[in-house]
């Protein structure tokens, strides 16, 4: 295996793995704090049971998230030292803020997880709120560092060196807002729907179980709102990259030829030989509208970029289609949830609805992985867009594939253990929490 490919794959595996735990770490504290707040307000046992049961799962995921995050902070240098040598001084600021936010999160989470009996009830709840806020903040900061790679700002590049460094301008680059918004919503969509899906699945076995019903309701409420807002944030992102990274937009749309107006290409298989997309659905002029808000606008195609500066079209296009499909399905589920809870609450108890929600479990996370694939592969061959190529940043050490195999093996093993462990955890829920016991038992 080529060292560059190995380094990129190792980074992809490490990021793709960590992002799952990061999403859980951003979302679950908010859901737990919400459930505990309901308990404080209503005194109903089921709310505190849900919050406590969730907190055990979160403790496990958070620990894995913390160590896999540590891995990333080293891997930036281990795999791409050429990047960090120059970028460290420019984007160190969002990383140091992220470190701070994560530090507060880890401390507050320790208090929240182990302090149920040691703290005043409201003080305990407050620690949960602090975990939620700092978790979301740390996500936003780290995404801002990634946004800088897409939209480099706050320095002048001269003779292979960065001068006139302005860390504030680098942090608040043009892409930070759209990316941070999209990622935060994505974390809430993915985690909430996954949690709702698992509880819906368990509810299918016994549909009167108050514990799982409450859990589904809380998770779906958050997930539905976030999923409903996500297409709007996606639109902001699309218009943004149409301006800033036309090559990425062209790749994810598989738009080979600059067109005016440009069709929206849905599905299909991009063919680099013929420069056409086989078997695709075309919606006339729609891409012009989505990218520039005007049905007559010109959209830059891949033909405007030299061969060496085009991102891989196939992967980017596929990943984008998967992300959008999952996103729209979840937004649709969210819409249904609003309608049913406002009008036909009885539907929410139906078997088909619970089956539907259970089937949605992995979709949010699939969308997150696909979305990161779009943003990272779509930036290639650049590591800092328009400034530094990935091949110039990779570590000179030969044999990088071995650390890739090792990391992949370890993460695969840990994934299997985690799934198995979660199943064991879930099996114990009825023993610990009275509200989770089935009434007919």
């Amino acid at each position: 295996m080529d060292d560059l490919v190995a380094a990129r794959l190792q980074m992809a595996i490490s990021l793709g793995w960590h992002i799952v735990f990061a999403c859980i770490g951003m979302t679950m504290p908010v859901l737990m704090a919400f459930s505990e707040w309901k308990w404080l307000r209503t005194g109903k046992q089921v709310y505190i049971d849900v919050a406590k049961a969730w907190s055990k799962g979160v403790a496990i995921f958070f620990a894995v998230g913390a160590v896999s995050g540590t891995v990333l902070s080293f891997e930036l240098g281990l795999l791409f030292p050429g990047f960090m040598k120059h970028a460290g001084a420019i984007i160190g600021m969002p990383f140091s803020w992220e470190g701070t936010a994560f530090f507060v999160e880890a401390i507050a989470l320790g208090i929240f997880l182990y302090g149920w009996d040691r703290l005043n009830k409201w003080a305990h709840w407050l620690s949960g709120v602090v975990v939620g806020i700092s978790g979301v903040m740390s996500g936003i900061f780290v995404v801002s560092a990634n946004a800088w790679m897409n939209s480099p700002a706050g320095f002048t590049w001269q003779n292979g060196k960065a001068i006139n460094i302005d860390p504030v301008a680098a942090m608040f680059n043009d892409a930070w807002f759209s990316q941070a918004l999209h990622m935060t919503l994505a974390a809430f969509v993915a985690t909430s729907f996954a949690v709702a899906g698992v509880h819906a699945f368990l509810l299918l076995k016994n549909r009167t179980n108050a514990f799982h019903r409450t859990a589904v309701r809380i998770a779906l409420s958050f997930g539905a709102v976030a999923a409903f807002l996500q297409p709007i944030s996606g639109d902001i992102s699309a218009k943004d990259i149409a301006e800033r990274q036309p090559a990425k937009l062209a790749a994810l749309e598989a738009l080979y030829h600059t067109s005016q107006p440009a069709d929206l290409i849905i599905g299909g298989i991009p063919n680099n030989e013929t420069q056409e997309v086989d078997y695709a659905i075309h919606i006339p002029a729609m891409l012009s509208f989505l990218a520039h808000g005007d049905f007559d606008a010109k959209v830059t195609g891949l033909d405007k970029f030299p061969e060496a500066e085009r991102p891989p079209v196939l992967v980017t296009h596929f990943a984008f289609q998967i992300m959008v499909a999952c996103g729209f399905l979840l937004a649709f589920a969210g819409l249904l949830y609003f309608i049913f809870s406002a009008r036909w609450q009885a539907v929410l108890e139906k078997k088909w609805w619970l089956t539907f929600i259970a089937c949605l479990t992995p979709l949010g996370f699939i969308a997150v992985e696909a979305g990161w694939t779009v943003t990272e592969v779509g930036r290639q061959p650049w590591i800092i867009y328009g400034v530094m190529k990935t091949e110039d940043a990779v570590s000179p050490i030969p044999g990088l594939q071995f650390s890739f195999y090792m990391i992949t093996g370890i993460y695969l093993l840990l994934t299997l253990i985690l799934i198995w462990l979660m199943r064991r955890q879930i099996a114990t829920v009825p023993t610990y929490y009275p509200s989770a016991r089935n009434i007919n038992e």
């Binding site: 055990k56 496990i60 958070f62 894995v64 913390a66 160590v67 896999s68 540590t70 891995v71 902070s73 080293f74 930036l76 240098g77 281990l78 030292p81 960090m84 040598k85 120059h86 460290g88 001084a89 420019i90 160190g92 600021m93 990383f95 140091s96 992220e98 470190g99 701070t100 994560f102 530090f103 507060v104 880890a106 401390i107 507050a108 989470l109 320790g110 208090i111 997880l113 182990y114 302090g115 040691r118 703290l119 602090v130 001068i163 460094i165 302005d166 860390p167 504030v168 570590s395 000179p396 050490i397 030969p398 090792m406 370890i410 840990l414 462990l421 064991r424 955890q425 099996a427 114990t428």
Partner: protein, 341 residues
């Protein structure tokens, strides 16, 4: 400005050695502490270990923001030991959490424990090896040479190995002393006191070996040591603290013990900083990387400092609160002390 950042980096490093070290050490000590020890250790580190390890992340972020060239240089030359450290961190954190939360005991429990104990030992050894390589001066900034010469030789030698064992032993010592106050019954407490003495002796011997093997590798630590008044003072104080700590082993007092070991570790680190300063990485051909020749531009340092100050303003009170809830208000030790007399 640079001085403040160096101080914060140093403090983060000392706190990581002390708190993260205690966590790693707990896994080492557990090997000798028997079945009951496992319970005490799990209970002692579960609420705090993640927060303790964030000091490492903080130190790394400061390093790559303020001294990016140091970070990229060690990332290349010490790729192999650092990769092993990372794998150790992942396996240790995961296996500890899995063991702590998994419902049943049995064969999986044994695997978790084995992974936890082995990685608790391996990780500090390779952390020490990494540090040793930064001190020894066999790292090359020019990327010409054989694979062995560039990426293995700088850390694969007797001095670095001894540094690794010294680190593991120091961590074990810190953990054993911390655990004296976490023990739930007198026999267990006796055991941690015995282990503390054992690790103290081991650390002392390893410390001497660090200096001896440095001479073998032609790195004159003794000279450097005797040329720095600060490090002579620091190391003398470390030795002078030993009788006091031995006295405390006979009359355990949570706060004094922890303060004494905290002071001792801080002094060891200060003594070492005094020898090193301002060099971060010794280079093969004398192109040493220092705080001064690798520092980021002033605008970066200024923003980093703001972030660090704001961060510490949030972190220190919450860290204090965390330890107050789980470590200071434990209330079980006073009764233990009475049963010993």
């Amino acid at each position: 400005m640079l001085q403040l950042i160096i101080i914060i980096l140093g403090v983060a490093f000392i706190l990581y050695t002390l708190l993260g070290g205690a966590d790693f050490g707990a896994g080492i000590v557990e090997t000798f502490a028997g079945r009951k020890g496992e319970k005490t250790i799990s209970k002692a580190i579960a609420p705090v270990w993640e927060a303790n390890h964030v000091w490492l992340i903080l130190a790394i972020v400061i390093l790559f923001t303020a001294f990016p060239l140091v970070y990229s240089t060690i990332s290349i030359a010490l790729h192999i030991p650092l990769m092993i450290v990372l794998i150790g961190i992942v396996l240790r954190g995961s296996s500890f959490t899995f063991r702590h939360y998994d419902v049943a005991h049995g064969i999986t429990h044994k695997y978790y424990t084995a992974f936890f104990q082995i990685s608790s030992f391996m990780t500090p050894v390779f952390l020490g090896i990494t540090l040793g390589a930064m001190i020894l001066g066999d790292i090359s900034v020019e990327n010409t040479g054989s694979f062995y010469g560039l990426y293995v030789q700088p850390w694969f030698n007797i001095f670095c190995l001894v540094m690794g064992l010294f680190t593991a032993s120091l961590f074990g010592y810190i953990a054993a002393v911390f655990l004296i106050s976490e023990a739930t019954y007198p026999v267990e407490q006796e055991r941690y006191i015995r282990l503390s003495k054992m690790f103290l002796l081991l650390t002392f011997v390893m410390g001497l070996l660090v200096f001896t093997t440095a001479e073998l590798k032609n790195h004159h630590l003794f000279d450097a040591f005797f040329n720095s008044r600060l490090s002579i003072a620091a190391f003398s104080a470390v030795i002078l603290l030993i009788p006091f700590i031995l006295y405390l082993f006979r009359h355990p007092h949570t706060l004094y013990l922890r303060a004494a070991i905290g002071l001792q570790v801080t002094l060891v680190m200060l003594g070492w900083f005094a020898i090193q300063f301002p060099i971060l990485v010794y280079e093969r051909h004398g192109h040493h990387l220092t705080f001064y020749n690798t520092q980021a531009p002033a605008a970066t340092l200024y923003q980093l400092l703001i972030a660090l100050f704001a961060g510490l303003l949030l972190i220190i009170p919450s860290f204090y609160f965390l330890f107050k809830v789980f470590k200071i208000n434990n209330g079980q030790n006073s009764s233990l002390r009475q049963t010993r007399h």
